[in-house]
């Protein structure tokens, strides 16, 4: 059993606070991806779990045991580093087997296990090479093998794929997920790449400036982003945001240029509240004007091969639309936009929080 419970964890470097009040429970066997832009504290959080950084506030428990004061070797975690951190003077076999050697496993057993592990990640023919003689993808595999061989309770990955080319990245992504399923460890994977996060995760943790913005399945995070920040970060091309004001009847939002967007009844804003309307480019369709369509001015289009990304403006607010059809609009032409009612995300104008969010995002998921 290796459930990871993070309770109100925080981190300061000297007087600089870089993380506060992070609470998260990662279930046994779960694959959790921590997603966020560079510098938001993902690595720091991972390293706090690993024991490579002090936990300055709060506590972290692995398998029910608080690990704040435990050394890395006492925590039962294995880690794959971004730059792989292979031992340059050791062969691939020595790299993979190092943890077992330290643990005092007899040589014959160790070599057998190294061979088996190398086989499982396709490294058998490279066992006698030094890391310097390997390609990026092969080094990545060595790093993986070095983590796997220990049969850890917890797997920690710090952007392990970011140094690989696009094709290899996708391939290793599948490989990592396969290995996770196979050895049924608890995995925590840090990345700034939303595609990686979406495809790998059982649950996503979106971080921003040292705090958690949202925890949820990739689907939940995409369908019901908890804040403007998450909504803008997840999804590509990024979500469109239109500022507006809620009507007195509370059933619609008036945009700055006077057009209205009807709200579904589940959303209960205050009359006159300033809000941000969020619309995903892929949920918008181009349509003739009139009949409730939103009018927008065409600027230019980008060819994507599979379709086009149309760039428009409503007043001065840019709006992009992803569509399969290929229209030839002229610049300045007014075009209608349609969208299903439930594709409208409404966020508070001041706090940026989602209006129809019935639960506090992080707290609800923390077991007592």
């Amino acid at each position: 059993m290796a459930e990871i419970a993070i309770r109100n964890a925080g981190k300061t470097y000297g007087k600089t606070r870089i993380m506060q009040d992070v609470s998260l429970v990662i279930n046994n066997g779960e694959f959790v991806v921590i997603l966020g832009p560079s510098g938001c504290g993902k690595s720091t959080l991972l390293r706090m779990i690993a024991g490579l950084e002090d936990i300055t506030d709060g506590e972290i428990a692995i398998g029910g045991q608080v690990v704040n004061r435990l050394e890395p070797r006492e925590r039962g975690c294995a880690m794959v580093f971004q730059n792989y951190a292979l031992y340059p003077h050791m062969t691939v076999a020595e790299n993979i087997g190092y943890a077992l050697k330290v643990a005092g496993m007899p040589k014959a057993d160790r070599l057998a296990k190294v061979a088996a592990t190398a086989q499982s990640v396709g490294l058998t023919e490279f066992l006698d090479r030094k890391p310097g003689q390997l390609s990026g993808g092969q080094r990545q595999r060595v790093a993986m093998a070095r983590a796997i061989i220990r049969e850890p309770k917890v797997f920690l990955f710090d952007e392990p794929l970011s140094n690989l080319d696009a094709k290899l990245r996708v391939q290793m992504r599948h490989e990592i997920r396969r290995i996770h399923n196979q050895i049924s460890a608890t995995s925590v994977f840090v990345t700034h790449d939303q595609h990686e996060g979406m495809t790998l995760a059982d649950r996503l943790v979106v971080m921003n400036k040292g705090t958690i913005e949202q925890i949820g399945t990739p689907e939940e995070v995409y369908d019901r982003p908890a804040s403007v920040y998450v909504a803008g970060f997840i999804g590509s091309p990024a979500m469109n945001f239109l500022p507006g004001r809620v009507t007195d009847s509370r059933s619609a939002v008036v945009l700055d240029d006077g057009q209205t967007i009807p709200l579904v009844s589940a959303i209960k804003p205050a009359a006159g509240q300033m809000v941000q309307i969020g619309l995903r480019p892929e949920k918008l369709t181009l349509a003739p004007l009139g009949g409730g369509a939103l009018a927008a001015r065409f600027e230019f289009a980008e060819e994507l091969g599979s379709g086009r990304l149309y760039h428009l403006k409503i007043e001065d607010v840019p709006v992009s639309v992803m569509a399969a059809e290929k229209h030839s609009f002229v610049e300045g032409q007014t075009i209608g936009l349609r969208f299903p009612n439930d594709a409208v995300h409404v966020f508070d104008g001041a706090s940026g929080l989602r209006l129809d969010l019935h639960h506090a995002p992080a707290a609800a998921l923390v077991s007592a």
Binding site: A50, G51, L52, E71, P72, R73, C77, A78, M79, F81, N83, A85, L86, Y87, P88, H89, Y98, A99, V102, A103, K130, G132, R146, R150
Partner: protein, 293 residues
């Protein structure tokens, strides 16, 4: 890199001249002079030098005093080098791990290298002085226990300590730089793999330091043969009873105290060849081999 080209070669010659002059006056000329002395012998009643071939070398190599000087030079070189490198490695590891007060160490440890050898000698003369120094305390407890002016091996220990102390700084800087160039994530990976600090040192840091160890070993040994003069001169003057008569010091005392220019010149040729051989080893093996990519 951009290079400057000079149209007229006399400008180049002019710019080179000061450096060439210095090298000529302080290196080639004395070296040539030494070679000349080494193969000749001054006639007893004047009248210039006569060519004697390898006689001077034969005399030296059959002189038991010379061989005892070689022996003590080797002991000094190996012991001072080992001590200096061992100490500096330990200190560098402390500083690298940023143990308490490491910033103070870092500055304090660089000072000794900036101190001239004779000044080091004087400082240690005080420390080890049997009557007035710190060690005089030992003598108040057990009289006569410590006296490097009388007891040969204590004099050797004294110059070894002083020499090592002076060299700690240099090695320390190199070790620290080498340790800090080991990526942090390597140590962290080893920590995750279960290795404790001592184990990481043996399995990771020391192997990755081998290029530096080789480099420092050669540099320190070379330095011990040449740079020890100031320390011997101020601390022991080669005594007691030639116990600390290192090769470089013996050249001086034979030549300028004993006025045996030819014998001293022959010895300095031997020392020069030795140092050149070590330098060759350094270029040939240390600079090229022991690299990890």
């Amino acid at each position: 890199m951009r290079r400057a080209y000079f149209k007229t070669s006399w400008i180049a010659a002019l710019l080179l001249a000061p450096q060439l002059l210095i090298i000529f006056v302080f290196f080639y000329w004395p070296s040539a002079q030494a070679v000349y002395w080494a193969f000749t012998l001054e006639q007893p009643w004047g009248g210039g030098n006569t060519w004697v071939g390898f006689d001077n070398f034969r005399n030296i190599l059959s002189d038991p005093y010379y061989w005892s000087s070689v022996r003590v030079s080797l002991i000094y070189a190996v012991a001072a080098t080992a001590l200096a490198m061992g100490m500096s490695l330990i200190l560098a590891m402390f500083v690298d791990r940023q143990l308490a007060g490491y910033k103070a160490y870092r500055v304090a440890l660089i000072w000794p290298y900036a101190i001239a050898a004779p000044a080091v000698g004087l400082a240690f003369r005080f420390i080890f002085n049997p009557n007035a120094g710190i060690f005089s305390y030992v003598n108040t407890v057990i009289p006569g226990l410590w006296d490097p002016t009388q007891i040969g091996w204590q004099a050797v220990v004294t110059i070894i300590l002083a020499g090592a102390w002076k060299h700690v700084a240099y090695s320390f800087i190199f070790f620290l730089a080498a340790l800090q160039s080991i990526p942090r994530s390597l140590t962290e990976a080893a920590a995750m793999d279960g290795a404790r600090p001592l184990r990481r040192m043996v399995d990771l840091q020391l192997p990755l330091l081998t290029p530096t160890v080789f480099f420092l070993f050669v540099i320190n040994i070379t330095d011990s043969f040449t740079d020890s003069f100031g320390i011997v001169d101020t601390l022991t003057g080669g005594g007691p009873f030639r116990a600390t008569d290192l090769m470089v010091y013996k050249i001086y005392s034979d030549g300028f105290r004993g006025f045996d220019y030819s014998g001293a010149a022959a010895q300095s040729i031997i020392l020069m060849v030795l140092v050149m051989a070590l330098t060759f080893v350094q270029f040939r093996y240390v600079e090229r081999r022991v690299h990890y990519t």
